[in-house]
Subunit: 483 residues, 2 copies
């Protein structure tokens, strides 16, 4: 129930976010520190995200599987960077069925190790390749500072894992999945993202290199919204994943992994949300349309209710996700606020006068006030709604893109970079050294988000001087404060 | 790859099952004792099961949610029967982030406790009821004797949880979900089941009473294939789940829970499978049709391949789940065996002669040999296939039902019961005492599976003498050996 107003984003962006997640009933805090409960509205959003991605994964030949959540502790130790990265974050099961376990088990923080172990049994010959797998599950990482959706001890995600005969194929897969994440973010979530390569400091523990999509939140900070890792032969060597090639030679496989998590819900909230609450992209919104009936007398109510229910059926028949708010008690105005908080893209207001005129008022969530209201004939409402949903989807994308552009600066000097990251992204030449990256992180509190793949679209992409040390730098990178 | 034959079911039913799960590539053993890896073919089957159930849950107003897997150990202790039942089976996390935890956490064995805890926060008034929730997840129970799908430390399931204002509503919900499981089992899985009430000895730990659906496997043993629990006010009292009623009085909620797990895959295997392998019900089969091209020369291959690919497209367009086996190397005969092992309901054999005649041979999985083969015109193959799939769905249901009937006996004496449970189910009057139940379990190694709801359809349902003690008994129960 949205009784109280949110703090504005300008006042306190972090608190705006925390309260919005609760008030919109997306999620709640669980009794265990750092864990969350995803409530029906939040899970319906996640189900739409999973459907949009799963369709893309299957269209590119991936098959879903389920590897167990419990992994022998010793597996984590087999890949040397992996163990360094994940050891501090493990949840360890030491007791099972009332007895101390001979070997402790960890709850998977990610599944490269156990998948590598099984692949070494299953993969024999080049005929078995490529292996293209994905799983939808949850993983546990013992994070110290947590925030609903953005960083929780347990989070939900998909983890894709593939094995290939050649480096080229595995690299192509890594890029293909990055493209799929980009396509999903832009076209389904209406979130403009920058696909690019991470630095060695920020790559996945065990990867040769990592790509990510980076999005700008409503406070100008960056959020890594999906990652795709080229793992080289690292895990194949650690777990002895080999195949017999066409010439009868044993070869190690080349592997990849890629993931997108419930963190993405945080991105949707922080990219599109406004001071009234959520603004959900029509393609992913649990409800695309809410019908709010307006009446005073019982007579009015009877007349409006009948039309509203028929309208709901018609919209549902046109494959529009619609709900009708028939709650007794709350006023229409209260309901308007409540559904604005929950980000439903389009509201249909239906009162006795509308019924008399055979029309309804449509109010766009992305354009508050009178500007976003139109009166539409009931006769072809499904068509009008469809058209408006497409418009809203595009409009919120364009708004987010314009925001990012206006909060991104080409920073050629270190002073410019430091100023730029106060409010958004800095695009700057970087020599590639870990030292410059670390200094910038320490001094400007900004991390190297990625080296965008698309350098040509940016000014002065043809070489320059590192923004920190002044040495020659072939490419520009994005620096930003980040979630 | 199905290189070697299975043992027959008559030789060794248990070993037939174990090998079939592996050879059909449904699942494999994980490195942790008692855990399993569900492979792509097995998970595709589970995805079809989840879709069939999820559709039914949503149509009856349930919403999906996600409660966390980690539960404070102390929660389990709050309901006295729950703690007795589940304590011995817990997996306990004692270390997180490298440090000993102040309070140990358990991996959920089921989620009544954590859900009760959250409901006590969320539910305030009668207006908030009913709460109708479901979640798809995995749970961990430290089982000693395990078997792929049937009993694993971690298993996949859905757990529904609902809260109601009245006992009547909660009881109606418990029965509604039992009906949904029955409908799913019979109509989608082609598995005849007997819905009924469990004894106190066999009910869920913490329930007032438990209903189940019981199915007969191919060896005459029973398998509990889904359960629905009326929890009374037990968990509401333990977790203080109260609401303010219309008269301003605080009342405890009445709650239910219900679940169906990957165990159900075991039922599908053991009900329908034969000595050649799986026989999957068309409505749930990952592939409903496999096309096997037959050729010797390159010329033949080119001609057959083109027609086969076109056929695949046409079938897919008609929403038939189809695969085309274009593997090089294996002979058509080897492929036939392989897909029989994997239980694809219908095989399309396409050779040069068929192409010349514009026809194909259709081979039904449920009728081996010539009897199950028909030649069909390519022109309307999608329609022919659709019709045959419906026939197969019905035929395997009827076969399973006939098998159950022929392996079920009305046992009026204890001797008859003991003989009946050697090969199937005994229907016998039972006085309802735990003593008789325990003696039968000990001496005949048969458990009371359920008291069927439908007593009228059975002979002599109007009272009789307990099969064990001879005292008056109002109802008959099923006794059987069970998985």
């Amino acid at each position: 129930m949205a009784e109280e107003k949110l703090p504005t984003r300008a006042e306190d962006f972090s608190e705006w976010y925390n309260q919005l997640v609760l008030k919109a009933q997306l999620a709640d805090y669980a009794p265990v520190r750092g864990c969350m409960v995803v409530r029906p509205y939040g899970w319906a959003l996640w189900e739409n995200i999973t459907a949009a991605l799963d369709r893309r994964f299957k269209a590119t030949g991936h098959q879903n599987v389920a590897f167990p959540m419990l992994i022998p502790r010793s597996f984590i130790d087999k890949e040397k960077h992996h163990v360094e990265g994940f050891s501090p974050e493990l949840a360890v099961v030491t007791i099972g069925g009332g007895e101390e376990l001979a070997e402790p088990l960890v709850i998977r923080p990610t599944s490269e190790t156990i998948i590598g172990h099984m692949w070494s049994k299953w993969i024999q010959s080049y005929r078995d390749l490529p292996v293209l797998m994905n799983q939808w599950n949850s993983v546990v990482r013992w994070e110290l500072r947590t925030k609903l959706f953005l960083r929780t001890l347990e989070f939900y995600w998909q983890e894709g894992h593939t094995a290939h005969a050649t480096r080229e194929e595995a690299e192509a897969e890594t890029r293909q999945m990055l493209d799929i994440y980009t396509d999903f973010a832009v076209n389904d979530a209406a979130i403009p993202v920058i696909p690019g390569k991470k630095s060695d400091a920020e790559k996945f523990a065990g990867a040769d290199h990592t790509f990510s999509i980076e999005a700008m939140m409503g406070d100008g900070k960056a959020l890594q919204a999906g990652t795709s890792h080229f793992l080289g032969e690292n895990f194949a060597q650690a777990f002895d994943v080999k195949y017999l090639d066409q010439h009868g030679q044993q070869q190690f496989c080349w592997t990849t992994s890629w993931g997108l998590s419930t963190r993405f819900i945080g991105a949707i909230i922080m990219v599109h949300g406004d001071d009234q609450g959520l603004v959900l992209p029509p393609k992913l919104a649990p409800y695309q349309v809410v019908i709010v009936p307006i009446y005073k007398t019982d007579e009015e109510r009877a007349s409006v209710q009948g039309v509203a229910r028929k309208l709901k059926e018609e919209l549902a028949k046109a494959n529009i996700r619609v709900t009708l708010d028939e709650r007794e008690g709350p006023s229409p105005g209260w309901k308007f606020n409540d559904w604005e908080m929950r980000g439903v893209p389009l509201r249909v207001e239906l009162g006795p006068k509308d019924v008399a005129k055979q029309s309804a008022v449509l109010a766009r969530r992305d354009r508050p006030g009178r500007e976003g209201k139109v009166s539409a004939s009931l006769a072809d409402l499904p068509r009008t709604v469809e058209t408006l949903l497409v418009e809203i989807q595009q409009a919120i994308h364009d708004k987010a893109l314009a925001f990012r552009k206006s909060h991104t600066q080409d920073a050629t000097t270190y002073e410019e970079l430091k100023r730029a990251v106060e409010t958004g992204f800095a695009f700057s030449h970087w020599c590639g050294s870990a030292e410059c990256e670390a200094k910038i992180k320490e001094e400007a509190r900004a991390t190297m988000r990625c080296i965008p793949l698309d350098q040509d679209n940016e000014k002065s992409a043809h070489g320059g001087q590192c923004v920190y040390c002044g040495k020659p730098a072939a490419k520009r990178a994005i620096f930003a404060r980040a979630y």
